[in-house]
């Protein structure tokens, strides 16, 4: 089995990461009741023992290894200590090794240049060292997950500078990024600059990006909590739940579902490398809109169960997307459908794909662009769970919004001096990022025009002489 390393950068990244590790531990504890350290757990955790303050990894012997002390395969980076300290003092503190933490106390002042150029250079060696160590402890490393937000300074700047370290040191290992984009009413004034600069790096250096929007998460959480409150019996809210916890749980659920097939058994396994292969037809168009159905925040807080076919329908409605977008009315380049559940079989998948294909538009050269996966074990508290990862042209609307907000600020060169005064930053970067994003928006537009207007011409088949 393969292993993955989680790298959480910045306040947002670490908070989401915290929820992820919590849910992940719960899931493995549920499915591995006899406490054996097996392939499934080893994908995200190491089994360790501590002798005189040094932690050693216990090798996995076939079948009979008991769990001793689990350590997460993670690297936590933040230029402010608040979030990480809170994490360490909580219940999850045990699973992190102090060496896996890279912190500072000054923060990045919501400035991408400070995060990327200043801290990027300062901490490059230290981060590279930690990544190398973590990779060495993996038998077969398949991918890195980077969690961050694009609107701030640390997550956005240092997070993207980290990508170039990963690309240089481990070019063969896939780089998946969960990037939280700011909503239009974000209170950080420079967030359009930060997001634009970050997106440029993500386009060039990530293999696959899952963009997420806070507003979409808020909408989903409200929907679920309303349904729970209006239900026949009151379900208790989790103890010590913080306001962002519910939203972050959703993101954690997406990652758990995405990796379920590489951790657990199923009749149609989908590894993370297959996701990149099937959903990224052109290197720069690797932005995947994710959606979950049925909606659940944790095992106690979820919408009431629905019929399977209805869940498939819901998966493609705009209320279930983790990005403010409506993929149904745009063009699909490819779509992955990952299903978890004991009683879902290939016939259910096929029946629903046939139904959905009638109402969704796929690009002319990929009319059957579906990638399907079936995993036997559902998430805790659910009978089944569906995840869709869509490479869809609706993302261009989000990018266009971002571009507009950026141009509004940049045309007056507002706040630009904060960036230019940082060593290593060149104002040319603003223009390059703008060009790159405009290019991507244009490519998506072109594809939409050609297919939806019906002017696509199929090339003549190879003629034999």
């Amino acid at each position: 089995m393969t292993q993955s390393i989680m790298i959480q950068v910045g306040q947002c990244g670490n908070q989401i990461g915290c929820r992820f590790w919590d849910q992940c531990l719960h899931e493995h504890a549920f499915y591995s009741k006899n406490g054996i350290y097996d392939d499934a757990i080893s994908s995200f955790f190491r089994n360790t023992e501590t002798y005189s303050d040094e932690t050693y990894d216990l090798p996995m012997r076939t079948g009979s290894n008991k769990i001793n002390k689990l350590k997460a395969r993670a690297i936590l980076v933040d230029m402010e200590e608040g979030v990480i300290n809170e994490l360490l003092q909580g219940q999850l503190g045990e699973i992190f090794d102090s060496k896996q933490l890279i912190t500072n106390s000054f923060g990045s002042g919501n400035n991408w240049a400070v995060g990327n150029k200043e801290y990027g250079t300062m901490y490059r060696e230290q981060i590279a060292e930690q990544v190398r160590k973590a990779a060495e402890l993996c038998d077969c490393l398949q991918c890195f997950f980077v969690l961050h937000s694009t609107g701030g300074g640390t997550g956005s700047g240092l997070g993207t500078s980290l990508l170039s370290i990963l690309q240089d040191e481990f070019p063969e290992v896939y780089r998946f990024v969960g990037a939280v984009y700011p909503s239009s009413d974000d209170d950080v004034i420079t967030s359009p600059y930060n997001s634009m600069l970050a997106t440029y790096e993500l386009t060039e250096k990530a293999d696959c990006v899952l963009p997420i929007n806070n507003q979409a998460l808020i909408n989903i959480c409200n929907k679920v909590q309303q349904a729970v409150r209006s239900g026949k019996f009151e379900k208790p809210t989790e103890k010590n739940a913080k306001p962002f916890d519910a939203m972050n749980n959703l993101v954690a659920n997406v990652i758990l579902n995405m990796t379920s097939s590489s951790r657990f058994e199923g009749s149609l396994n989908v590894d993370l490398n297959e996701i990149v292969m099937n959903l990224v037809p052109f290197p720069k168009q690797h932005y995947l809109v994710s959606s979950l159905s049925p909606l659940y925040i944790s095992k106690d807080v979820a919408l009431p169960p629905r019929k399977l076919d209805q869940a498939f329908e819901d998966l493609f409605s705009k209320d279930h997307q983790l990005m403010l977008s409506d993929p149904r009315h745009s063009l699909y380049l490819a779509c992955a459908l990952m299903v978890r559940g004991k009683n879902v079989q290939t016939s259910d998948l096929n029946r629903n794909i046939a139904k959905l294909s009638r109402n969704l538009s796929f690009v002319n050269w990929n009319q059957e662009g579906w990638k399907t996966g079936l995993c036997n074990l559902p998430p805790i508290g659910q009978q089944y769970s569906l995840l869709a990862l869509a490479n869809n042209t609706c993302i261009r609307h989000t990018f266009t919004d971002l571009k507009d907000r950026f141009v509004k600020l940049y045309s007056r060169k507002a706040h630009v001096h904060h960036y230019e005064k940082v060593d290593g930053f060149e104002s040319l970067l603003f223009d390059e990022s703008l060009n790159s994003l405009t290019g991507i928006i244009k490519e998506y537009e072109e594809m939409e025009k050609t297919t939806l207007s019906g002017t696509a011409q199929s090339t003549d088949r190879l003629q034999l002489v």
């Binding site: 398949q142 490398n273 099937n278 016939s347 050269w365 059957e368």
Partner: protein, 401 residues
Amino acid sequence: MKTFFNDTQCGKHEARSVMIDMEPKAVNWAVQDTTGKEWRYAKSQQFVQKSGSGNNWSYGFKVHAPKCKDAIIDLIRKEIEKCDYFGGFLLLMSLAGGTGSGLGAFVGNVLRDNFPRATVLNPVVCPYTSGEVAVQNYNAVLSLSHIIAVSDAVCLLHNNQLHEICHRLLGIKQVSFHDMNKVAAHQLASVLLPIIQDKQSGSRFQNVLNDIASALVCNSRYKMLDLKCVPYMSPHTMAFNTFQWEGLAKRMFQMMLTDHHMDEGLNWRTTLTRPHGKTQRSSTYTKYVSSLLFMRGQGSTSYDLLTQFGDSRLYPTWIMPACRNSVWKTELPFRGYEKCIAFLSNGTSCVKSLNVLTEEAWDMFGSKAYLHHYYKYGLEESDFINAFATVENVIYSYKTL
């Protein structure tokens, strides 16, 4: 028994197989599935890696394959050594993925290079046309172009057809891959289980693969085989059915004419009759290069199918009458079916599916989608063009029959 199994000292039968996969889950599951059964897989005959091929044909063929080549040849040789009389290989793989299709194509080349005189029969699984893997058509075209060159015969099994058989004939409401695999295994077993046909020759060792290849593949331009079986029944309806050779033969003949994979939903209007001496247009019924019928069950030896299935209108004129069609019979019933017929043919059945896959793959190739994933590991544009040309050639040969 000895054709496919080896006897071990502990009394269990060991399958004569080599299991190869670039990631462990499927093989582990298969091995565990044999617990409690009379047979098992030999412990040392599994070759498993950890990372998978990511549905990337190029990764399977160019990266994994050269690394695993020696280990795989070793395992194959070990298995051959256990045989008294080695007949040939059955290379089972799918066309849609990365390992089965990419590494599988490589293994086909390896078999041909290292064991030039062995017969290689290649059953391959074609994915659902509604899409299981976005790049399935690329992977299929690339694989087919290789295995067509090196295998003696390629037999296409279609997920769509297997699914329908499970759903409509076996009455399974929620069809799973397990159900479909059982049907595929049933189909393969119905033609591969040995039939001792000639008692006079006294030979108890029948080289099944060689016999099939020599009966069906007389010209290396025509190697694509198709499998049809009749009947399929769910266990509870079997008890209520009476089997008659005439009924089975009639349904199988219509399936043969209309190239339909089940005996349900048949178009009975298609016939061979020539109105007023003029020939029926060949596009209305399927044409064959050669075919093999397997009759398993009581009374098979006394029932004649040769005249019906060997009709000259179904075959091209350059095939000698004796080579058109053979019927192999055994009185032994098969898997609880009192009587059953299997039809293994070399004919235009493959054209439809090959056409669909090539068309979709070519469209995708035209827009250059996904190609960077393949080029990353050493494949080039010319490799794709060659692959397309090979498959188009096969389609053309069959279309002009």
